[in-house]
Symmetry: C2
Subunit: 216 residues, 2 copies
C-alpha cells in the first residue's frame, strides 16, 4: 500500500533483512532439524507479504541452509551421518588452509581478540547455552579466517557452517559439553609461536572433533 523499496535506506531491503535474520538463526543452531517453515507463517511473523519471504527462503535453500521437498515445502535439514562426515571433511580441508593463510597476518591484537572470544565461549559452556556456544565458536574461527584475505574460501566455509547449524544444535545439546573446546588453546599457542604445521593440525583437530563420533 505505502512505501517499499529503499536501497539507500541505511542498508536493507526487506528480503535481505529476512535473509540475514533467518540465516543467523540457522547457523547459530536456533532451529532444530526438521522444522517446517511456511511462506505465510514467516510473512505474518515479520509483518510482510509472501514475496520477499520467498526470495529469502530460496536464497537460503540455494546455500544449503534449508532443504526443500519436491512439493516445495521448506524445512531445516536433517542430515544423514554420511553427509555430516562429508561436511566435516570439507571443514578439515578448507579451514587449515584458511588458518595457514591468516598466520602471517596474525598479530597480537588479533590473538587478544581471539582470547576474548574464547572466554565468552567458556562462559557459554558454563551456562549450558548451546546457541551462545555455537555462536562464539564460529566467531572464533571467522575472526581468524578473516585475516586470510580469502573471501571466496571463507564464504564456502560459512556455507558449510550453515548446513551444519541445526545439526550442531542437536549434537551439542545431546553430548552436553562441560569444558570449552580444548583445541582452541592449541590454535592460540600455534599462532603465537608462528608454528604453521602445528596450526594446521590444531585447526583440523578442532573442526573434526565432536563431528567425528556422532553415532546418530
Amino acid at each position: 500500500m505505502l512505501l517499499q523499496t529503499r536501497p539507500s535506506d541505511s542498508v536493507l531491503a526487506v528480503h535481505d533483512r529476512l535473509y540475514r535474520t533467518l540465516r543467523t538463526q540457522v547457523m547459530h543452531g536456533e532451529l532444530d532439524p526438521g522444522v517446517a517453515l511456511t511462506l505465510r507463517g514467516i510473512a505474518k511473523r515479520f509483518g510482510v507479504s509472501m514475496t520477499p519471504v520467498r526470495e529469502a527462503l530460496r536464497r537460503l535453500v540455494a546455500e544449503g541452509a534449508l532443504s526443500m521437498s519436491a512439493s516445495g515445502r521448506v524445512t531445516t535439514p536433517e542430515l544423514s551421518n554420511e553427509r555430516i562426515e562429508e561436511l566435516a571433511a570439507i571443514r578439515a580441508l578448507l579451514e587449515p588452509e584458511l588458518a595457514s593463510r591468516a598466520l602471517p597476518r596474525a598479530h597480537f591484537a588479533l590473538i587478544e581478540r581471539l582470547q576474548t572470544i574464547n572466554t565468552a565461549n567458556a562462559e557459554a559452556v558454563a551456562k549450558q547455552d548451546a546457541v551462545a556456544y555455537i555462536r562464539t565458536n564460529l566467531e572464533f574461527h571467522r575472526t581468524l579466517y578473516l585475516r586470510a584475505q580469502a573471501p571466496a574460501m571463507l564464504a564456502i566455509a560459512e556455507t558449510v557452517w550453515l548446513q551444519l547449524g541445526p545439526t550442531m544444535r542437536a549434537l551439542y545439546t545431546r553430548l552436553r559439553r562441560n569444558e570449552p573446546p580444548p583445541h582452541h588453546r592449541m590454535i592460540l599457542a600455534a599462532l603465537k609461536a608462528g608454528d604453521e604445521p602445528g596450526l594446521r593440525l590444531a585447526v583440523r583437530a578442532d573442526v573434526t572433533q565432536g563431528l567425528r563420533h556422532l553415532a546418530g
Copy 2:
C-alpha cells in the same frame, strides 16, 4: 491466467527451468563478463512473468554465478585477478581430494567414458569452439568426481566452476588453445595405474594451469 504450478509435471517448475538454463549458460561461458540481465528482459525472453525470473536470478546470485550491485542490478561477474587466483586455489584444494576419493571406484567403464569425453574435448579445440571446450572439460571432471560419492564437495566445486564461467570464456578465447589440456592424459594414466599421489598431482596441475598466468 491459465494453469500454473505443476510439481508432478515431468519435473519442472518455471523458476527451476529458468534457473537451470541460466546456470548452464553461465557455467559454460556462454555469457561474457559484465553482461547485464534484467528481470523484464529475461521474463519476456522466456515468455513468463517477473516472479519466477526473480527467484532464479536470486538463486544464481546466492551461488555466486551472478553478481548484484547495490541497486539490485544483476550482471555476470567481472572477477579481479586476486579473485581468480583464489578460486583456482580452491579448485586445487578440492578437486584432488575428489579425484582421490573417486580412484578406488574408477573401473574400466568409467575410464572409457572419460576418454570419450576427452575426444570430444579435443574436437572442440580443433573447432576453436570455446563453449564446447569448457563444457566437455567440466564434464570430464564432473564425471570423474561423481564417483567420489561426495555430493556436498562436488556441489562446492561446481559453485566454483559457476563463478569462473564468464571469465573462462574471456580467458580461453584470449589465449586460443591449439591443443587439448595435456594433464587429462596424465589423469587417465594415473587412474589406470591406481597411482593416488600421481592422480592428485595431475588434477592439481590441470585445474591450476591456464588460470595461473592470466595477466588480466
